[in-house]
């Protein structure tokens, strides 16, 4: 334990309105804590610079998972366990349930939240690629009101997002009724469980008459933010998945990713494995029509 907890203020106002009022009264002074699986790790390691924290845990408005005709809405405070156990998610957005099931292990899944994963904005985080290929929208809220945008616009750069100091992430909205026939997700971590991704790739797509009609691909740990691989997608749309085309897609991927060497893996490995995963996904696409 490398911090002195006596130096940290921590309050739990208990309602969304009260938290938002606090954030607006002193913008930037208070840091929200949901499940704490990022912030408490930082505390233990002596790296938690924010000294005033406000708890989001237990605020019901943030935690629900609800469905309307067009959208499935997941509260930012929903835990990975909530996501794994939700029948609608399992049925309509199975990749999200899968990514939740291999985020950390059970104890982390019981505390870690979707909102925390998004706002923490690690390039290696497991939920963002899935949200990107499902074309999620994100809803931000403050005492002044709410705004909603495409999730793909949320991340600005390494650990930088559009979130303002007085705002919280309220929810993530997933469009219903657009499920594509091929869905792919693979995480390559340091081991089978309790592993941070060295690389992860999510893909959804549809073929029509032997050609790629739609495809969306996103990856973790390949760029400074979670990102769609739009150049790679562009190489594919409208084309048959010949081996030349797959090679072209691999090339495009290698051009648009900028992985790094770090204590967990190497840039070369990450890039190459991402291309292999892409190929595996495209082979599934190719096989999907027969």
């Amino acid at each position: 334990m490398r911090s002195n907890v006596s130096e940290y203020e921590f309050i739990a106002p208990g309602s969304l309105d009260a938290v938002l009022a606090l954030l607006s009264a002193e913008p930037g002074a208070w840091t929200p804590m949901a499940g704490g699986t990022e912030l408490m790790v930082a505390l233990g390691a002596g790296r938690l610079e924010q000294r005033k924290l406000v708890s989001l845990w237990g605020i019901g408005e943030l935690r629900g998972i609800t469905a309307s005709a067009d959208w499935l809405t997941i509260g930012a405070g929903a835990t990975y366990t909530d996501i794994r156990e939700n029948a609608a998610i399992a049925k309509e957005f199975p990749l999200l349930a899968r990514s939740a099931s291999w985020t950390g292990a059970i104890a982390n899944q019981n505390r870690g939240t979707l909102g925390g994963n998004i706002v923490n904005a690690s390039p290696a985080a497991d939920s963002p690629p899935v949200l990107l290929v499902y074309e999620a929208e994100i809803e931000l809220v403050s005492a002044q009101g709410a705004r909603r945008m495409n999730y793909s616009e949320f991340h600005l750069g390494y650990k930088r997002t559009v979130l303002r100091p007085q705002e919280l992430v309220m929810a993530v909205h997933l469009p219903r009724g657009h499920r594509l026939p091929v869905e792919y997700l693979r995480k390559v971590g340091t081991r089978n469980a309790m592993a941070i991704s060295k690389v992860a790739l999510a893909g959804v797509g549809a073929m029509q008459s032997g050609k790629v009609q739609t495809v969306r691909i996103a990856a973790a740990s390949l760029r400074e933010t979670p990102a769609r691989l739009s150049m790679t997608e562009a190489v594919l749309v409208g084309h048959a998945l010949t081996s030349d085309r797959i090679q072209a897609a691999r090339k495009a991927l290698l051009q648009e990713v900028k992985p790094i060497d770090d204590v967990r893996s190497t840039a070369k490995y990450r890039a190459h494995v991402a291309a292999n995963l892409l190929e595996e996904f495209l082979n599934q696409m190719a096989a999907s029509e027969s």
Binding site: M1, N4, V5, S6, E7, Y8, E9, F10, I11, A12, M33, G35, G36, T37, M40, V41, L43, G44, A45, R51, L53, S55, W57, G58, T81, G104, A105, I106, A107, N108, N110, R111, N192, A193, M194
Partner: protein, 174 residues
């Protein structure tokens, strides 16, 4: 030098079935509250970063790493630690199978491991091998290689324990 000392919070919660309270900094880790303020030292610290699971407890019936839970977030909750598994001195079934089947060696992972097992069995009373492996994956054990722990969890649901299962696969006497 240290900033001005912050306000302490009074945390009231039910620990192992008993109402308890502690007046502590609100960011104090539940792990430290249990160990230092309530002397429940069966809860262990192996890493302080959510990786080893030796600090696992059930919080409102849900498995958590107590090193990552600030005291204030445990306020009003029910906490179960290893000290609460046995009832009136009688070992819980999971404790017996850990003891009899070799699920504990050095014992430092054992409290957390049993609580992970307890949490798994409450949700899924008949877990298959994959479910057991997944349910225990957040709890590192360096001694056992997990085989006997997995066995202990398997047998926690079936009585009686067969002595045949206690032995290694087969021993040839020469």
């Amino acid at each position: 030098m240290s900033a001005a000392k912050i306000q302490l919070s009074e945390i009231r919660f039910k620990v192992n079935g008993v109402e308890r309270s502690a007046t502590v900094p609100p960011m104090k880790r539940l792990l430290d509250v249990l160990r230092e303020d309530l002397a429940l030292t069966g809860v262990k610290e192996g890493c302080g970063e959510g990786e080893c699971g030796s600090c696992s407890v059930l919080l409102d019936g849900v498995l958590v790493n107590s090193c990552l839970v600030p005291a204030l977030q445990a306020s009003g909750c029910e906490v179960l630690t290893v000290e609460g598994l046995a009832t009136n001195g009688a070992l819980a079934h999971i404790q017996r199978t850990f003891l009899e089947l070799g699920g504990t060696q050095c014992g430092i992972c054992t409290p957390g491991m049993m609580l992970a097992a307890e949490s798994l069995l409450r949700k899924n009373p008949h877990p298959d091998l994959d479910a057991i492996r997944e349910g225990l994956a957040g709890n590192l054990c360096r001694c056992t290689g997990y085989m006997r722990i997995i066995d202990a969890v398997k047998h926690a649901i079936e009585e009686p324990i067969l002595t045949a299962d206690l032995a290694p696969e087969e021993t040839v006497h020469k």
